[in-house]
């Protein structure tokens, strides 16, 4: 789960990391108010996407009137495909130098990694490797001050700036571990003309699997309405822009199913991993969800291990019965545990099951393109 900049900065500030004075606002009047308190301000759209500066999402206002008019302009606008409903209004900084500083989970190394650079304020992916300082942290021992000094030294920091940097990095690491974060990033970390370092921008991506132990941290809903419903139902669901709805069991097989649909010339409407061992009810919910987006066809691809093929069949029948038919051509591929029972249940409702993935995929692509594709149209008992 990604936090908005202003939320990340609240967490940073709680840990003692200096952030610019400012407030999050939802109206032009509030923006004017903050400007009248702070003087010259930066007005920044709060969206969960990078590159907002280039997209015009960061403006500067010298007067409350200007702040009000800029805020009015930004609120409600779309930036990077996301509607702006919140702005962070902050005192404008007198920038001397910009650094990059982050702590992230390094999957390959299985350890936290600190990434720092003198090239702050830009997308870190665009900074050449030789200008990055990377240091892994052993979870057994944590981060100690000597390592933060080493990193500061590598950035050629000296004196008071080096000490501030060291302190901020120790605190950022505390934010990272203390919040169960996947990424805690300050970009840019600004050295102001008065010699003080401040976190001018902040990102904090939290581990969804650890949110349960952080009731104090804010919650941010991501994705579309349907994606959120799916998430609440415990499904792993991603919307795509095609027209063939897909349900499979297992992330890898689901991805492969999408690839195969594409291979046969079709366009998948979604990724939906029903997981291993899901029961009738969750799978029925998942199918309902897929159908709510009005696809041209539905492919259910099950290799039954823990997942029982008869449960899959019952889920399909349940939805079809409830809706008075699935409404779209449905292609079902069933293999594995209780395969025979599943196939029988489908047959009783005039649905045919495939056993080969290739055939099923070819059939669903044909069905979506207008042909029947060998599958049923999903109206049971017809």
């Amino acid at each position: 789960m990604k936090l908005f900049e202003y939320m990340a900065k609240e967490v940073f500030a709680r840990h003692g990391i200096p952030v610019p004075p400012g407030r999050v606002v939802a109206s032009p009047q509030e923006a004017a108010q903050v400007c009248s308190e702070l003087g010259e301000v930066a007005i920044k759209v709060q969206i969960l996407a990078g590159g907002r500066g280039k997209a015009g999402g960061i403006r500067f206002a010298a007067s409350p009137a200007e702040a009000e008019s800029l805020a009015a302009d930004l609120l409600g606008r779309e930036v990077r495909g996301l509607v702006v409903d919140r702005l962070l209004v902050e005192k404008k900084l007198a920038i001397d130098q910009e650094f990059y500083l982050a702590v992230a989970v390094d999957g390959a190394a299985r350890r936290p990694v600190i990434i720092a650079s003198t090239q702050g304020g830009v997308n870190i992916e665009e900074v050449p490797e030789k200008l990055l300082v990377k240091r892994h942290v052993d979870p057994a021992w944590g981060l100690h001050p000597y390592r933060t000094r080493q990193i500061g030294r590598r950035l050629d920091l000296e004196g008071a700036v080096a000490r501030q940097f060291s302190d901020i990095l120790l605190k950022l690491y505390q934010v990272f571990t203390g919040s169960d974060a996947e990424l805690a990033e300050i970009n840019p970390l600004v050295l102001q003309k008065d010699g003080r370092l401040v976190a001018a921008d902040g990102r904090l991506n939290l581990d969804d699997d650890a949110l349960y132990r952080h009731p104090d941290l804010p919650r941010v809903a991501e994705g579309s309405e349907v994606e959120r419903r799916a998430q609440e139902a415990g499904l792993s669901y991603v919307e795509l822009d095609g027209d063939i709805a897909v349900m499979a069991n297992g992330a890898g097989i689901t991805m492969a199913t999408l690839d195969i649909i594409q291979h046969f010339g079709g366009r998948p409407a979604n990724f939906l991993d029903a997981g291993g061992g899901a029961g009738v009810e969750p799978m029925a919910q998942a199918i309902e969800l897929l159908l709510s987006r009005s696809p041209k066809a539905l492919l259910v691809n099950i290799f039954g291990g823990i997942t029982r093929c008869d449960d899959v069949a019952r889920a399909i029948v349940k939805v079809a019965t409830a809706r008075g038919g699935l409404g779209v051509p449905a292609v079902v591929r069933l293999v594995g545990t209780n395969e025979q029972e599943g196939v029988s249940i489908l047959r009783e409702h005039s649905l045919e099951a495939y056993s080969a993935m290739a055939e099923a995929a070819a059939a669903v692509v044909k069905a979506a393109a207008g042909g029947n594709g060998g599958g049923a149209d999903g109206h049971p008992g017809r």
Binding site: V105, G107, A108, R110, R111, P112, N123, E125, D138, P139, A140, T177, D180, E182, D207, D209, A210, Y212, R213, S236, V238, L240, A248, N249, G250, A251, G252, I253, T254, M255, A256, L258, D259, I260, I261, Q262, H263, P268, F271, D273, G276, F303, G304, G305, I306, V335, G336, T337, A356, M357, A358
Partner: protein
């Protein structure tokens, strides 16, 4: 021969009295795996399928010569379970549990490395050496003994490929699930290394997916391997920025793309199947072309 687990593996199931634990303990036993103990705090003295349950792994080790564990405990307690297994000296710890916080995973994997224990997973289907031992939740009938090693990130996709190989008469030495999380104990390279050294493996199938750089690192490693490798990579059609179920399966900031992985593998001489059902054909052709298997090491004959 096999890697990681075989007929000498003596297994404790942690979380043996939960629904999942019970069910898979029975399945593993039925497969012939030597499940000698279960552990569930507070349930010591009970039995599951005739297997004695203890409160602690320490006790299980005291009473049985346990050397591996399969963990089914809930995510919030999984880190503690891994620490317990590693502390007790078990060499292979298979973590089925999913949704373990990534900081817990980093911590428990660091502990395991400091103590030279191998952790498979978390969020893995496990490890099976067909005909010898099954430590995990995979459907037994997809597998048969043979010379093909499989290493995969994903469960069902690898079942699919194993079943296709089995159907084609191409049995497996060992099938290893790395796990679908961003941070897992074993990576492709470490498993490839073991397959390369295993006399029972003649061809290796690598089942990868988009995201991360594990496949690229594997590609680099295969350049030094004597044994041929076949790969299948899922996620060709995945758009950037969308996480496809697995924590790792996402193309972020241009890294971990399908094309990049396939290119890396192919330029290292790996045969990459465009579709899953092409794998058995590629494996069969390589088995025919490959070197004869080394004879298995035998214990010296008894003198009496």
């Amino acid at each position: 021969m096999a890697i990681l687990v075989d007929e000498r593996t003596r297994v404790v199931v942690q979380g043996a009295t939960g629904n999942q634990g019970r069910f898979h303990l029975a399945q593993m036993l039925a497969y012939g795996t030597r499940v000698v103990a279960g552990v569930s705090p507070g349930k010591g003295g009970e039995e599951v399928e005739g297997v004695p349950v203890y409160d602690t792994v320490e006790q299980a080790v005291l009473h049985h010569a346990v050397n591996a564990s399969v963990i089914f405990v809930p995510a919030a307690f999984a880190k503690d379970a891994v620490f317990e297994a590693v502390h007790a000296g078990l060499g292979v710890v298979v973590v089925i549990t999913e949704h373990i916080p990534v900081h817990d995973a980093m911590s428990m994997l660091a502990f395991a490395r400091h103590h030279n224990a191998v952790v498979v997973g978390p969020n893995t289907f496990g490890v099976i050496s067909p005909g010898k031992a099954k430590l995990g939740i995979m459907p037994a009938r997809a597998y048969s003994p043979g010379p093909v090693g499989i290493v995969a990130r994903s469960g069902t996709l690898s079942y699919e490929i194993a079943a296709a190989l089995t159907a084609a008469g191409l049995g497996q030495s060992t099938v290893v699930g790395l796990g679908g999380d961003r941070v897992v104990g074993l990576n492709f390279v470490e498993v490839l290394k073991r397959f390369e050294e295993d006399p029972g493996t003649r061809v290796v199938v690598l089942v990868g997916e988009i995201g991360g750089t594990a496949e690229e690192e594997a590609a680099e490693f295969t350049k030094g391997m004597a044994k041929p490798v076949v790969a299948y990579i899922a996620g060709r059609s995945a758009p950037p920025g969308k996480r496809m179920g697995h924590a790792g399966a996402i193309i972020e900031r241009g890294r971990g793309t399908f094309d990049g992985k396939v290119k890396a593998l192919e330029s290292a001489g790996v045969r990459v199947a465009a579709l899953p059902w092409e794998v058995p054909g590629l494996v069969a052709s390589l088995l025919q072309a490959g070197p004869a298997p080394e004879p298995e090491a035998r214990p010296p004959a008894s003198e009496d």
